[in-house]
Amino acid sequence: MNFDKEFDASGLACPMPIVKTKKALADMASGQVLRVVATDPGSVCDMAAFAEQTGHALLEQGSEAGKFIFYLKKA
């Protein structure tokens, strides 16, 4: 999937993947796509909850080489 920006949250534990994802989205334009890479297994549920509560769309999620990948479209 194409994306406009990437944020690597590898190694970070709760709540920093969410806190820093919010920061990464802050300077993006509506409709742009952020790719987030995380190693925290909790981020799978957390990123979905973040998207649901903030209105950003979680376009796709999956895993690559033991890491969790998320594509968020800014609201």
């Binding site: 709540p15 806190v19 190693t39």
Partner: protein, 156 residues
């Protein structure tokens, strides 16, 4: 999106109990919530400019996982609290857990409001000059005003 509100009361000043209010507050603020933390009793220690004094003790804390079983008589020895604190901080760092300082800074950056309980500040004769400047001072009525409008309200 809806603007939800969360009101927290932070009453503890040990390393383990300092985390929940800052974690929940920074997360809720990241979700767009308006958050206020009321710091009272030992929770006031979390407002100090320097958080290095926040410690954890294995004593009277039987649920704390220890690398080796340690009799209570040993836990009482001088230096054990410092050692436990150092070990916990190292463990947290190795697991990617943010420092208290970092989490508190995030809270402030995301405009979490900190309110210190004036009564306990006076009770313990704390010098407010030792606290960070981003603090308002008030009492229970100040807390109730915000808590009454909140969606989530927790006592920690």
């Amino acid at each position: 999106m809806q603007n939800k509100k969360m009101a927290l009361i932070a009453t503890k000043g040990t390393l383990d109990m300092a985390y929940p209010p800052f974690i929940l507050a920074s997360t809720a603020a990241s979700l767009g919530w308006t958050v206020q933390i009321f710091f009272t009793f030992y929770g006031l220690q979390l407002l100090r400019k320097n958080l290095d004094g926040i410690r954890i003790s294995p004593l009277a804390n039987p649920a704390m996982p220890m690398p080796v079983p340690m009799p209570v008589m040993v836990q009482m020895l001088p230096g054990m609290e410092s050692m436990a604190t150092m070990m916990m901080k190292n463990k947290m760092k190795s697991k990617g857990v943010a420092s208290l300082q970092e989490l508190r800074d995030v809270c402030l950056e995301l405009e979490v409001k900190f309110v210190a309980c004036q009564m306990t500040v006076d009770l313990f004769e704390f010098e407010t000059s030792e606290f960070i400047k981003d603090v308002e001072y008030g009492g229970a009525a100040t807390f109730m005003k915000f808590a009454g409008e909140s969606d989530v309200c927790l006592f920690i």
